[in-house]
């Protein structure tokens, strides 16, 4: 019950600012359209660069995995007694 009341109160609070909407340049006809377009474009413009970068990073990391698999097919993990973990990657590309 409490949850429902909190939830509905939150919804009301979210709806309230809508009455304060004022658009200096659009006629009353265009106001809701304009506001909706801003909303949609805000979402698209914010997510687009992140999606593109995410896509490139994903693709590059796939390439890296492929390159690593191709460059050392018979690589056996170095025994732990050899204290040189880093140079193992010196011959192969890597991206974490």
């Amino acid at each position: 019950m409490t949850i429902a009341r909190v939830f509905s109160a939150t919804l009301l609070t979210l709806a309230a600012p809508g009455s304060a909407l004022a658009c200096a340049v659009c006629g009353t006809m265009g106001m809701e359209n304009n506001s909706g377009a801003y909303f949609g474009m805000t979402i698209i413009m914010s997510l687009l660069p992140l999606c593109m970068m995410g896509g490139v990073v994903y693709w590059v990391s796939r390439r890296v995995a492929a390159a690593e698999a191709a460059s050392m097919p018979h690589q056996v993990p170095a025994p732990s007694s050899v204290p040189t973990p880093y140079p193992a990657s010196a011959t192969s590309p890597d991206i974490a």
Partner: protein
């Protein structure tokens, strides 16, 4: 100069005779020369930006009196001066120095390679940047004077010469800004590609020094956000030059749209310059605390988080510009959220210092000041990020003081930390510590004395963008605060020649520096000071992360990245595991 002597000797094969001044300094593809070009151009522009602020602060404190060195300031000139101060300091000082200069100088050195991935693109980047700087400087001398529409260039003020009274300055300013962004786009492509493909053997992603991470992330944020602003700038240019109506409501345009296109870039821009400064501070902090950076991966992840969230906050600049209030609510939340990763970085730096053996050399003082001052800037931002409080604070000096408490630490304190720290690497000589400390205290104390009064004035209702407050008798009681700020500004300016003298004197006459004077770990200190053409006499191999200070069981309290582990010979470290796997 010794730098060149070493450079020539190191070059081995003298296929070219002395290339001549212009070929060497204007047509060089060496990343260090290009970094220095950006640095000196940025310093020169900072002097111009400093002069403009001197003139208009004098006008504000002592309205109607002749400013020494300039003369009487009229309203149009005042508009031009504040516009030029803002745009020069952000676009032609902070960006070239923090990203382009440090990025160009540091990235190949810290990654252990000889140059950028695209050296010619890099040269082109500086040449376009220089052109943009010349264009923006030349607007001071065109009819009507430099652009007077504020650095945010909101239409309709910026769209029509009838409003901004600068028919030549306005389009030239836009062209300069577009050119400048093209220059940084080319530079950013270089940074990311170099960091991806040219790391030293053995250097994994999490062995890359924080400052390189930061510059690369900042470049990515820049490139992800700059497109809409360039689009908007072209539209505004058409509005100014051929009379289109993109931002003119009479023909169906939308002036608020410019604010979105501008701030879609403009707010990420803050993080574009913040991240390199934070990275510089990380390097200085670890070296002068002799301690491993606390939670290296956390810093990288928080920087990533900052970069991602920075795309979701821009509309907090339009809270009272007539945007949908429901959208304002969302942007309030995202704006408050972005303070979390930044605060986390500050805590990480404090944790890095905790228990370290701190040396209060000049770079460290600057790094500490960065954290202290930037925290004030961040905390005051909370008030402005809340859309309710912003209704009151909007367009007051509170905003201005908040902005300067973030940008001054970034653009100047961070830069001074970096310059004093890498000076021995850049020029092969030490800067004077005493002069450095005098400059530090003079600058930091004066800086606070400028902007704390302006916080108070802003909270008292002092509006920005007013040329002469004597027309507002209800704000007359704030005049002493304005005068304190202006006098403190004069003090701040008076201390800057100390730095300039120290910088140029030390460049030629300073104490000679060894390759690794601060006993630091990162790869740039493996190169000679100053690094020759090609950077490393022998290309380094990386064995460990960049912050192995005070490792237990070692004689030295530092362990450079390129030094092989004690029980492996220098000749065969790379092949060791392969051989081990063979039997």
């Amino acid at each position: 100069m010794s730098a060149h002597a070493i450079a020539h000797e190191a070059h081995g094969h003298h296929e070219h005779a002395d290339p001549g001044f212009f070929r060497k300094y204007l047509w060089s593809t060496d990343h260090k020369v290009i970094g220095m070009q950006y640095l000196f151009t940025g310093m020169f522009m900072a002097i111009i930006g400093g002069f403009t602020v001197y003139v208009f602060r004098m006008q504000l404190a002592f309205p109607g009196e002749s400013v020494p060195g300039y003369g009487y300031v009229n309203a149009t000139a005042y508009n031009s001066l504040i516009t030029m101060h803002g745009s020069i300091m952000v676009f032609w000082v902070a960006m070239p120095v923090l990203i382009a200069s440090f990025g160009n100088f540091l990235i190949p050195l810290m990654l252990g390679c000889d140059d950028m991935a695209f050296p010619k693109l890099n040269r082109l980047s500086y040449q376009i940047f220089l052109l943009s700087a010349l264009v923006v400087l030349s607007t001071f001398f065109v009819p009507g004077g430099a652009f007077g529409g504020a650095w945010t260039s909101y239409p309709p003020l910026s769209a029509s010469a009838a409003y901004n009274a600068t028919p030549w300055g306005a389009p030239m300013w836009l062209i300069a800004v577009i050119l400048e962004f093209v220059a940084f786009l080319l530079g950013g492509i270089n940074f990311v590609t170099t960091a991806m493909n040219s790391r030293a053997p053995g250097m994994k992603m999490f062995d890359v020094p924080i400052v390189v991470w930061m510059i690369v992330l900042a470049s990515l944020v820049f490139m992800g956000s700059v497109g809409p602003l360039v689009a908007g700038a072209i539209m505004l240019l058409f509005d100014q030059l051929i009379g289109t109506g993109f931002f003119n409501p009479n023909t169906g345009g939308d002036p608020i749209l410019w604010q979105h296109l501008f701030w879609f870039f403009g707010h990420p821009e803050v993080y574009v310059v913040l991240l390199p400064a934070v990275g510089i501070v990380a390097e200085v902090m670890t070296v002068f605390s002799r301690k491993k950076l606390f939670a290296y991966r956390t810093v990288v992840y928080t920087a990533l988080a900052t970069s991602v969230i920075s795309f979701f906050v821009w509309a907090h600049h339009q809270f009272i510009a007539g945007i949908d209030p429901r959208m304002a609510g969302i942007f309030t939340v995202t704006t408050l959220i972005i303070s979390v990763p930044i605060a986390e970085m500050m805590f990480v730096y404090i944790a890095t210092m905790y228990g370290g053996s701190i040396r209060l050399a000049t770079p460290m003082l600057w790094a500490l000041a960065f954290i202290a001052e930037f925290l004030i800037g961040g905390v005051t931002g909370i008030f402005l990020g809340a859309s309710g409080a912003d209704v009151y604070f909007h367009d007051t000096y509170f905003v201005l003081a908040h902005f300067h408490y973030t940008f001054f630490p970034i653009a100047f304190i961070g830069t001074f930390a970096g310059l004093t720290y890498w000076f021995p690497k850049m020029f092969g000589r030490h800067m004077n510590e005493t002069l450095g400390k005098i400059h530090f205290w003079g600058t930091v104390v004066a800086f606070n004395a400028i902007f704390i009064p302006l916080f108070l004035a802003g909270a008292g209702g002092d509006h920005r963008r007013i040329f002469d407050y004597s027309a507002f008798p209800e704000l007359a009681s704030l005049q002493p605060l304005r005068q304190i700020a202006t006098i403190a500004l004069l003090v701040l300016i008076a201390f800057q020649p100390v730095f300039l003298f120290n910088f140029f004197y030390s460049m030629f006459r300073g104490k000679r520096a060894t390759a690794n004077p601060w006993h630091a770990n990162t790869l740039e200190w493996a190169a000679p000071s100053p690094p020759p053409h090609g950077n490393f006499p022998e290309m380094p191999v990386v064995y460990r992360g960049p912050y192995e200070y005070s490792v237990e069981g070692r004689e030295d309290d530092y362990w450079p990245q390129h030094v092989p582990p004690d029980d492996v010979t220098v000749d065969g470290p790379v092949e060791a595991p392969v051989a081990a796997g063979g039997h």
